[in-house]
């Protein structure tokens, strides 16, 4: 699914060069559930932007579904995002004063699909919000807004979902519900990459990638024992 090799992302900041990504290689199989975690400034967001085709690496090769993306133009990347990738953001990023169902339908419109309403309703139904379809974002709770955002992310049946701190603005219980939705999406075969700095969220994935200073420091599969160990590690540090 994802083959990223030796990715570099360099920024010039005044006289110095910032290495946001410093030789990152990451391979993800279809159907995996991966957490990328690390402190702010570790490069996890930059990595997510590149994996999500919102940004290009300065150096390195990135293949999504076997397709090399380095040399693609803006509109080709837009089309890849539209068809194969679903984004979920920390601040939900719904379009204000627009009905939930219309928010969900936005990717379909840009994908030149017909029957957008029906598909949008089906996606809302999958996150259990069909009954709130005619509400505007400001009439929905935080958890509901994030579920609408997830419905928007899955409406095109993407093979990859990228979630950037999806529970960051939610209370623990609502966050749990959102994670439950991700798990069930993953169970039906969708690849999920979750970017978070919260260890208790990160350990819910089946694989955890830890980053620091633009590099991957650990990349491991999780079992129950390792989960417990990672959690206690964070608690003792925190």
């Amino acid at each position: 699914m994802i083959e990223a090799d030796e990715l570099f992302k360099l920024y010039r900041m005044g006289d110095s060069i910032v290495r946001a990504l410093d030789g990152v290689s990451l391979h993800v199989q279809a159907g995996e559930f991966v957490s990328i975690t690390g402190a702010s400034g570790s490069g996890k967001s930059t990595l997510m932007h590149i994996l999500g085709c919102l940004d290009r690496p300065t150096r390195g090769a990135y293949r999504l579904r076997g397709q090399l993306l380095n040399n693609m133009g803006d509109s080709q990347l837009a089309s890849v995002r539209n068809k194969h990738i679903g984004f979920v953001f920390q601040t939900f990023n719904l379009i204000q004063r627009t009905l939930a169902v219309d928010n969900v339908a936005v990717p379909l419109v840009y994908g030149r699909m017909s029957e957008t309403r029906r598909a949008a309703m089906a996606a809302l139904d999958k996150v259990g919000l069909a009954h709130r379809a005619k509400h505007r974002p400001n009439e929905l709770s935080g958890g509901e807004r994030q579920r609408v955002a997830i419905a928007r992310a899955i409406v095109n049946n993407p093979s990859l979902i990228l979630a950037d701190e999806p529970t960051g603005n939610l209370d623990t219980r609502t966050g749990e519900q959102i994670m439950e939705i991700f798990r069930s999406l993953n169970a039906t075969g969708t690849t999920i990459i979750l970017v978070t700095h919260e260890m208790d969220v990160a350990v819910q994935a089946r694989r955890i990638v830890r980053m620091r200073d633009g590099k991957i420091v650990t990349d491991e599969m999780l079992d129950e024992a390792r989960r417990a160990a990672l959690l206690s590690e964070t608690v003792s540090v925190g």
Binding site: H49, G52, L54, D55, D74, S75, A78, S79, R81, N82, K83, F87, F89, N93, I95, Q96, R97, T98, D102, V106, P107, V109, Y110, G111, R112, S114, T116, R152, N156
Partner: protein, 402 residues
Amino acid sequence: MFFLRICLMAGRSLQANLMRSILACLGVIIGVAAVVSAMAILEGSSRDMISRIETLGADQVFVLNGTSEREGGRAVAQMSLTPEDSEALANLSSVITAVPESARAAQIKYFEKNQSIQLLATNENYTIVNDYKSIRGRVLTSNDVIGGRKYCVLGYKVAEKLFGDTPAVGMRVRIEGMGFDVIGVMEKKGFLGTRDVDTQVIIPVTTGLERLFGTKYVQMIAVQAIDSSDLDGTMQEVKRCLRREHNIRAGKGDDFQIITREQVTSNVKDMISLFAIVLYSIAGISLVVGGIGIMNIMLVSVTERTKEIGVRMAVGARRLDILVQFVIEAGVISVLGGALGVLLGYAFTDLLENVTQILKTYMTTRGISWALGMAIATGLLSGIYPAYRASALDPVEALRYE
């Protein structure tokens, strides 16, 4: 299909920021209303003036005083026409009759009642040529003119205002301090040429000229031709006659000019198109201001919706999609503004016509489509730059924008 959906989305975001959309529309509304009103006023007054000119006989030629070039190139009037010229012209073979006319603004007084009028000094043929009849008393006769009598014939409104229901004929009035006997009251007629003859008072040209106009020259001689299909022949004969009367030697220019109704019409049209340039420039400027208003609001909107643009890009909007979407938003503003502007312009011209009672307005579909077309073009043009700014955003930066 995609285009329709994009239009729907544009409509939704305009609706979501209703107040701002209305403000953006306002400039276009006012601009279009200005253009529409300008067109309606122009069309109305030009139709009005031309229809007045059409009341002049098609079988007439009009002799006016000449102009001569002084040094410095400024044209000055060269008074040359006399009532005697009129007599001479009336005797020409291709001419039925000739009417000298001099008009000025004047005051008429009947006891303590005072009235502003148009004073016309002419001869007995004026009423005949124009098929203009009296309803009380009589019109001027050749005896009145030859005798230089102090008689006057009142226009319909003049008589109404000065005398009301009491009889006017036989009464004595004062015009510019000179006593005249009223011998008749004319029928209600409206415009003859460029004058409202209902507010006019007619006196013999022999009585009026020297004392009331301070000159022995008349302003115009209207000549009625026998054959309206050969006005050119009549004009030639008139020209030869007047050159002889004025003792103009061969090689010297005329000290008069001869025009037909068609020439008067085309002169008026020239004047109107000059007026049109001025009026349209002003209306056009207000439309440009409207366009700047749209651009301003669209730029604010793009900045404010940076994050939304980032989200749209993240879910697959191409740069072109974003561009088209914002241009359409500007387009919708201008179409709505244009439509409301037409309505406002319509209401405004209607009001103008009713309040002034003089100004005539006329709406044409051609004028309305022009105004609408210009509004839409303005909207799209002023939408392009903000839309380009939106489409050129970097998706990562846009998503990060707070």
